[in-house]
């Protein structure tokens, strides 16, 4: 990460935005936490009265009852505070995760972004990093509660003995200085630990998805050995991280002992003269013990700020470059029991395609490293266009560049209008892209095809892709859960489901990347014929099959990233 990006991280502003995402819940949490922290002031005073009564042999029964009641009130306040904090906490986490997921899956637009690393590695950004930033905002509640307590305690103490109240403050300064000195090292240790964790999780992810490769080669042990190298590194980074954190924490809590010790030194004369009662001493010890924890809370805020900066930085890589604040953007989150589920966004309005033209389209690094250079092509409404050519000639790259999945130079015109953001434009119902190796998701067949869209057109695309035949054999029909990544379906079924997905909205433009492994010949022939009779859909298909080429209105042959021939019929 560059310094320029670092400077964009504003932990307080981002933290505030995280808190105010559910302002009402957060506000209630503040009030209740303050009450929870202030109640011990009162119980401390009751304790002083108890010890004074013990010294003078008065009855303490009434005082003990009051102590018990005060404690009970504190429990109720705590339970209520936790209830609000948890609801705020999960909502805020969901907001942050939604922002990252949205950026990663957006079809173009200013928010869209691509993955910095593997999907498995990105999971640590969704879990640990998101949690650490919410923790940072959460630490303010504790910090503020404690600060309120500290001010109250100092005021009460100074009414009894001003010197003692003053002495209490001294160690706090010392601790703050030491903490500041250690914090940069903690920051470095935390970063190293996160990197080591990322290596472990991404290696595990790859190992499990490549399970068969290890299994069939009988090399499971080799994978475990490699894993052990990575986990051993992480053990060392985790130990440095924890020890530094404990050192900062520990120095802070040692102030409680230092404070009481210093206070006793100062109080020796008044204790000897009898100006200070045992009750006063008990009160001072109780308050000083808790005051001594103040630096620990301050340190917690400082360290969680450092952790949060690392995490904001890592989550910033998941959203559009230079738009770090997108991570904490307030957006609809509906996860409470009484809230209706979030609806998918409506598709853009259909703009009938008369003519699609690409001019000078150039991609330096394509899908497999093979680029395309200076492509000029035009496609007329309702035509069937086939792109053919040897492997590595840039056919897939061309399709992916047109729909905006690859950054490209050049211009794309939809009815003579130049498209500023192809990725945002080439979505249903304007266009649909059927990838060579399409991905399915662990949800029902319907959801995989419709992706939350209206399903009135469903049965016709099921027929079109001959999926209806497969459905008859499935007990749950359209509600069949396809398993993780659609693995419960056969390869051919999965590709037909993806084909149905891209046909559902009857798109103006259909870009198909090599259907041959998805459909047998009869089905493919039938599909092309029926698309032709519907007539309005413009098709651009990558294919080597003669039956496709026979039906084409335009056959484009590519080689080495360039168009070598265009045959119109």
């Amino acid at each position: 990460m560059t310094d320029m990006n670092n400077s964009q991280i504003q932990p307080f502003r981002f933290g505030w935005l995280t808190g105010t995402f559910r302002a009402r819940l957060w506000g209630l949490s503040w009030v209740l936490w303050a009450a929870f922290f202030l109640l011990p002031l009162w119980t401390g005073w009751l304790l002083k009265l108890v010890f004074d009564a013990l010294t003078t042999d008065d009855s303490i029964a009434g005082l003990l009852v009051m102590l018990g009641i005060s404690e009970a009130v504190r429990w109720v306040v705590f339970a209520a505070a936790v209830y609000f904090v948890v609801r705020w906490w999960v909502s805020a986490l969901t907001m942050i995760r939604t922002n990252m997921l949205d950026a990663q899956t957006a079809s173009g637009g200013p928010r869209a972004a691509t993955l910095p690393d593997s999907p498995a590695e990105a999971i640590s950004r969704f879990s640990d990093d998101a949690r650490d930033t919410v923790m940072w905002t959460d630490s303010w509640l504790d910090g503020a509660g404690y600060l309120t307590y500290a001010i109250g305690a100092l005021m009460v103490m100074s009414t009894i003995d001003v010197r003692a109240a003053f002495v209490v403050l001294l160690p706090l300064v010392l601790v703050t200085v030491i903490t500041r000195l250690l914090t940069p090292r903690l920051y470095a240790a935390r970063s190293a630990d996160r990197r080591a964790t990322g290596r472990v999780t991404s290696f595990l992810g790859e190992t499990f998805s490549g399970m068969l490769a290890f299994r069939l080669a009988g090399r499971e042990e080799a994978a475990i050995n490699q894993l052990e190298q990575y986990t051993a590194v992480r053990r060392r980074t985790a130990v440095s991280d924890t020890v530094l954190r404990q050192a900062i924490d520990g120095i802070s809590s040692s102030t409680a002992d230092l404070t009481i010790g210093l206070m006793l030194l100062v109080l020796v004369p008044s204790v000897r003269s009898g100006d200070l009662s045992v009750g006063d001493l008990a009160l001072f010890v109780v308050y000083a013990t808790q005051l001594g924890e103040l630096p620990r809370y301050v340190a917690r805020i400082i360290t969680s700020r450092e952790q949060a900066i690392v995490s904001y930085e890592r989550m910033g890589e998941m959203v559009a470059h230079g738009h770090l604040a997108d991570v904490v953007d307030h957006r609809p989150v509906t996860i409470e029991p009484n809230e209706p589920n979030l609806k998918r966004d409506p598709d853009p309005l259909r703009v009938p395609l008369e003519r699609l033209e690409v001019r000078g389209l150039t991609v330096r690094y394509g899908s497999n490293g093979d680029g395309i250079t200076d492509i000029d092509l035009a496609f007329e409404r309702g035509t069937f266009n086939v792109i053919t050519g040897p492997v590595g000639s840039g056919k897939s790259t061309l399709l992916r560049a047109i729909v905006g999945l690859l950054p490209a130079d050049g211009a794309i015109f939809w009815n003579e209008e130049e498209l500023a953001d192809p990725a945002a434009w080439f979505v249903p119902p304007n266009a649909a892209h059927l990838a060579q190796v399409p991905r399915l998701f662990s949800e029902s067949l319907t959801d995989n095809i419709a992706l939350g869209r209206d399903t009135t057109n469903l049965s016709s695309v099921l027929d079109l892709t001959t999926l209806s035949r497969d459905l008859d054999a499935m007990p749950d029909g359209l509600n069949t859960m396809v398993g993780a990544r659609g693995l419960r379906l056969s390869g051919g079924q999965a590709q037909r489901v993806a084909a149905a997905r891209s046909l559902l909205t009857n798109p103006e433009l259909l870009l198909v990347d090599d259907l041959s492994s998805a459909l047998d010949v009869t089905t493919e022939r039938e599909l092309w014929d029926r698309l032709r009779t519907i007539g309005s859909t413009t098709v651009i298909a990558v294919s080597q099959r003669q039956l496709a080429i026979d039906r084409a209105d335009q056959v484009i042959t590519m080689a080495e990233g360039r168009v070598v021939s265009i045959v119109r019929k």
Partner: protein, 586 residues
């Protein structure tokens, strides 16, 4: 599962680390006893002041108090160091055990569980355990030491109070102990909900391109929020239990404190104790309160760890449907293959559909068989059966005359090899991709395997030869080049039975020539089954089998079928094109 089992399993993990556990126990003992010194010093301070002792004596007591405070902090760091190191050592072993176990589970398990969820279970759950051990368990042990020391001091100061406190504390601890599993079920379901949510995210990220180009982003966000709603529900349920637990532990404490104060009053009135001792006895209830409050704050951690352990044990209980009980050995040299009326159907459906039926064939040692058929004909299932990734529903498969399930699985994996269409490549060096991270294979061995396949020049032409790093998912290599890697992987082991799922398309001519050449080298002298997509490959094989709808529709010697003009193969040859293979077959 009984509630104690996961804790016992956790302690079992410490077994091999006795030395480190002992060192940690020593550190914990010192750290646990130090908090008892402070109140003793203050009690002495109060009594000495009341007795009018010298100012210097009071100053010494106050100074000692400061010194004890400083030593305490050094001990806290020492505890963190030893505990964290031990916790990660132990849990890293558990991670390896789990990863090894998961790698051994069958295909059905891996199909129903996404890699993202597995990562969360093998690493996430175990990290919860490790945090539990280093943060919570160490602190709890120190609190126990404090407790024991405290009882000793109180007995010394006033034995009636000591006995009373002992009875009370054992009741209190008994109660807390009984509550330890208070929220385990809730914690486990919260973790499960989180795991499902993260698994879904991982899947969406993997398929992000499909979502982008099909305008499915907002659908992914909507279903993600539904999964998050389940997380919120389970978090609230778990938090309700945690708060209940915290309140109960507090009740125990407040009642204890109030009882000691009442006792103090009675004993003071009788003159059995001094005011300093009265203060000490009360202060000691506070000494335990601090650590216990903090432990209670972290009951979440205990619950998360218990949930993690529970899920970990469940994962370890998963058994592979493919048993590893075979003990038979294979004859040496090329192996003969026999299939006898093999039938296979997917077992997990209500009305099972046969994928393969009545499949019988024999393949002599060293012979090669090409399998043709369109998508869905059962080719992939046949391959999985031969590799023993699934077991036949009926019939038997024999390799070298031994039924597959009776062969020792390790030997079976060693003696058979496969190149699948979908080669899995790793974000690692070419060397690691070839050896699959087996560092015992020397570079010379790798080079000679590559040389045997005439691929050494290909690898050495890469930017950094064997050290060339591939991106995630092996990006940087084309599909055909992936095949070359897979062929070389195979050659490193020199198996006697080979299964080849030929790439159906998308190979550039130069790579294709290399692949063809490497396959020829590989098949020489080995029994081989090739799921073929190219006529040029089929022509070089000894026999041909055509599958349709799970049944054999043609089987014979290649040479015979070539001249039989009614055969499917002859029909294919007549068309004479590679790319139309499945067209004619269908």
């Amino acid at each position: 599962m009984d509630g104690q089992q996961h804790w016992r399993a956790l302690f079992g993990l410490l077994g091999p680390h006795r030395g480190r556990v002992t060192a940690m126990a020593a550190v914990l003992t010192v750290a646990g006893l130090l908090p008892l010194l402070g109140p003793l010093l203050i009690a002495a301070f109060i009594d000495d002041a009341a007795a009018g002792r010298s100012q210097s004596r009071l100053l010494v007591l106050a100074g000692l108090y400061v010194g004890v405070g400083i030593v305490r902090q050094f001990m806290a760091v020492a505890v963190a160091w030893t505990a964290t190191d031990l916790a990660w050592r132990v849990t890293n072993e558990l991670r390896s055990t789990l990863a090894r176990h998961v790698l051994g589970l069958d295909l059905a398990f891996h199909r129903s569980t996404s890699p993202g969820e597995l990562v969360s279970r093998v690493d996430g759950d175990v990290t919860a355990l490790s945090e539990f051990m280093s943060d919570f368990a160490a602190r709890a042990a120190a609190a126990l030491v404090t407790l024991a020391g405290l009882l000793a001091v109180v007995l010394w100061r006033s034995w009636p109070v000591g006995i009373g406190l002992g009875i009370y504390l054992s009741l209190a601890i008994g109660t807390m102990y009984r509550l330890r599993n208070w929220a385990v079920a809730e914690a486990a379901s919260e973790q499960a909900a989180t795991g499902r949510m993260l698994g879904e995210v991982e899947e969406r990220l993997t398929g992000a391109d499909d979502l982008r180009s099909n305008g499915g982003g907002s659908h992914a966000v909507a279903t993600f929020q539904r999964a998050s709603a389940a997380v919120l529900r389970s978090s609230l349920a778990r938090e309700r239990q945690s708060v209940g637990l915290w309140v109960m532990s507090n009740i125990v404490f407040v009642v204890g404190g109030l009882m000691v104060l009442a006792l103090d009053a009675a004993l003071l009135r009788r003159g059995t104790i001094t005011l300093g001792t009265a203060y000490l006895l009360f202060q000691y209830t506070q000494v335990l309160r601090g650590p216990l409050d903090r432990l209670s704050d972290e009951t979440e951690r205990v619950q998360r760890a218990a949930g993690g352990m529970k899920r970990t044990l469940e994962l370890l209980d998963e058994e592979s449907a493919i048993s590893n009980k075979g003990t038979e050995h294979l004859p040496s040299g090329a192996l003969e293959l026999n299939l006898d009326s093999v039938r296979f159907e997917y077992a997990d459906e209500d009305n099972p559909i046969p994928v393969l039926d009545g499949l019988s064939l024999s393949l002599a040692p060293g012979e090669s068989l090409g399998v043709l058929g369109r998508t869905g004909a059962g080719k992939t299932t046949l391959a999985r059966l031969l590799l023993r990734l699934v077991e036949p529903t009926e019939g038997s498969i024999q390799l070298g005359g031994v039924p597959l399930h009776e062969i020792d699985l390790v030997e079976l994996r060693y003696r058979t090899g496969v190149v699948s269409q979908d080669v899995h490549l790793f974000a690692a060096s070419i060397r690691d991709n070839l050896t699959l991270f087996d560092h015992s294979i020397s570079d010379d061995e790798v080079r000679s395997a590559l040389e045997a396949l005439d691929l050494l020049d290909w690898v050495e032409a890469m930017p950094e030869g064997l050290n060339t790093e591939l991106g995630p998912g092996g990006s940087g290599l084309s599909g055909g080049e992936g095949q070359l890697i897979a062929l070389s992987r195979l050659f490193l082991r020199s198996p006697d039975f080979v299964l080849l799922d030929e790439a159906s398309s998308r190979i550039d001519p130069e790579t294709e020539a290399r692949v063809t050449h490497a396959i020829d080298r590989l098949l020489a002298g080995r029994t081989a089954v090739v799921i073929a997509h190219r006529l040029s490959t089929v022509a070089r094989l000894d026999e041909i089998l055509v599958l349709d709808d799970g049944r054999v529709v043609e089987h014979g010697r290649t040479a015979d079928l070539r001249i039989d003009e009614n055969s499917h193969y002859a029909a294919l040859l007549a068309v004479g094109s590679n790319s139309v293979l499945d067209e004619v077959v269908s």
